[in-house]
Symmetry: C2
Subunit: 290 residues, 2 copies
């Protein structure tokens, strides 16, 4: 997915929030914002938003000297989501269709995205859970069910810390023995890394690998060869979150995307109102975001 002009104010807001997360020094904030302005002035809009975000967050780590500014936030989000897990497991167990209830709750977990909303409150998470419990998602329920039934190997691309605890619900329904969970190769925003998979108890339940990249999405050319091979060969690929959608929606193989359409640009791209719980398959529409 290309970067829309509407993404640019949002990229700047996100850069400023990240700078404040990394450092209390206003000079660091100003330097990063000026560099991002300079860099976006000449940016290639045919790149996806995660490609730009990757460059910004790398530069922030250089300027601030802080390797993982979101680490305390990620730890807090993992704890918060783990706290909700027993109740949500009960909801899945009691549901008429546990697979689809688990998918809806995994999508609800995608609200825990500090890139889209740096001021996320616990109330936002509770609201997303309520929505998942009462509203179905928009998209491919039958196609998803068939693909799950027929797959021997499932590659599950995680998105965010906190959210990754919600992913346990769906992974338990899919059957952990056929799932490989993929996390980012390095910290960026609150995207899930190996540490987060460990913190929510997934490392002991499924095979977990890193993708070799520090982009807040899946830029295939930037991922390592082991990941790319698994990505090509898996019977089924599930990708969580807007960043994975923005970077893989034209990737050439079938992927099921599970996410909340949080921003107006993505919502417009999929033709649904912002806030919609999405479960869609590549290719998604022909409409270019521009």
């Amino acid at each position: 997915m290309k970067t829309s002009l509407d993404c640019i104010p949002c990229i700047l807001r996100q850069a400023l929030e990240a700078a404040r997360m990394a450092s209390p020094d206003p000079a660091v904030h100003e330097q990063l914002v000026r560099e991002v302005l300079h860099c976006t002035a000449g940016m290639d809009l045919s790149e996806s938003p995660p490609a730009m975000a990757q460059r910004i967050h790398r530069r922030l780590r250089q300027i601030s000297g802080v390797v993982d500014p979101y680490r305390p936030a990620k730890q807090r989000l993992n704890r918060m989501a783990l706290g909700l897990l027993p109740v949500l497991q009960g909801e899945v167990a009691a549901a008429a269709d546990p697979l689809m209830m688990a998918a809806r709750l995994a999508i609800a977990g995608n609200v825990i995205d500090l890139g889209a909303n740096g001021n996320l409150r616990e109330a936002d998470v509770h609201q997303a859970v309520q929505q998942a419990l009462t509203e179905s998602f928009w998209g491919e329920a039958d196609g998803f069910r068939q693909a799950v039934a027929g797959a021997r190997s499932i590659l599950y691309l995680a998105d965010n810390a906190g959210e990754i605890a919600f992913d346990r619900l769906l992974i338990e329904q899919l059957g952990p023995q056929r799932v490989t969970l993929v996390v980012r190769g390095g910290p960026v925003i609150n995207d899930a890394t190996l540490e987060d998979a460990r913190a929510v108890g997934l490392e002991e339940r499924v095979v977990v690998i890193e993708n070799g990249s520090d982009a807040p999405g899946t830029l295939l050319a930037d991922c390592d060869e082991d990941f790319r091979l698994r990505f090509r060969e898996a019977d089924l690929v599930l990708a969580k979150g807007q960043g994975n959608f923005e970077s893989l929606n034209e990737c050439g193989r079938e992927v099921f995307f599970l996410f909340k359409a949080k921003c107006p640009v993505v919502a417009d791209h999929v033709g649904q109102p912002a806030g919609t719980q999405m479960l869609v398959r590549t290719p998604v529409g022909q409409k270019a975001a521009g």
Copy 2:
């Protein structure tokens, strides 16, 4: 007031909205956004936001060839506000304190600001009116009343089209014979010009002058000498709107500002929640926005 780093994403959003208002051509939108990015990368943050906005909107007029992209919007907003006027005049007439009710409604009219909210709906205006009818403003009621009582000459700096119809309520209470109404010297966003003063029937009720500048605020050095003389010599200066506040809150003379704190930066500067109806006097706090 200085430009905060938080203003920059908002400046970009506003530039993009303005570009879309001026032209249906995506190449125009992209050119303006890239130029604004380049220009803000090197901007002097000690300048006020209206100074930056002035440059952006001048450049937009050059690129698009459209002298007044907001003209149809301004005409629509004037008609909408004029339609509300008879009911609001009734509210002022029936109020226990007509001067203060008129001030509150004039402040409510400041919601009609397409710089702060390009998607303004008529419902937003109704909501602001309801707030004004039921809630007092934050600030200097007594100081304002005394200043009004003692003034022979009042300079009233208008802000936006649409809003300027609400200003009639307060000008009627102040006594039109001692009021000089000031509008912008040229079109910028939906700021009120001579044409808007005429459209809402103010030109026939008070002396109306232009300030000689096309900034969406009052940059004294950019205004003409006639205006500056009146600004220095008026017994009382009332200034409507965030743009006038941002550009005059450190101007060295007493000014009463009437506005809704619409953005988080201004709200933080005045130490009140966003949405607060403000009637404050220079100097306002000592806190720098940064």
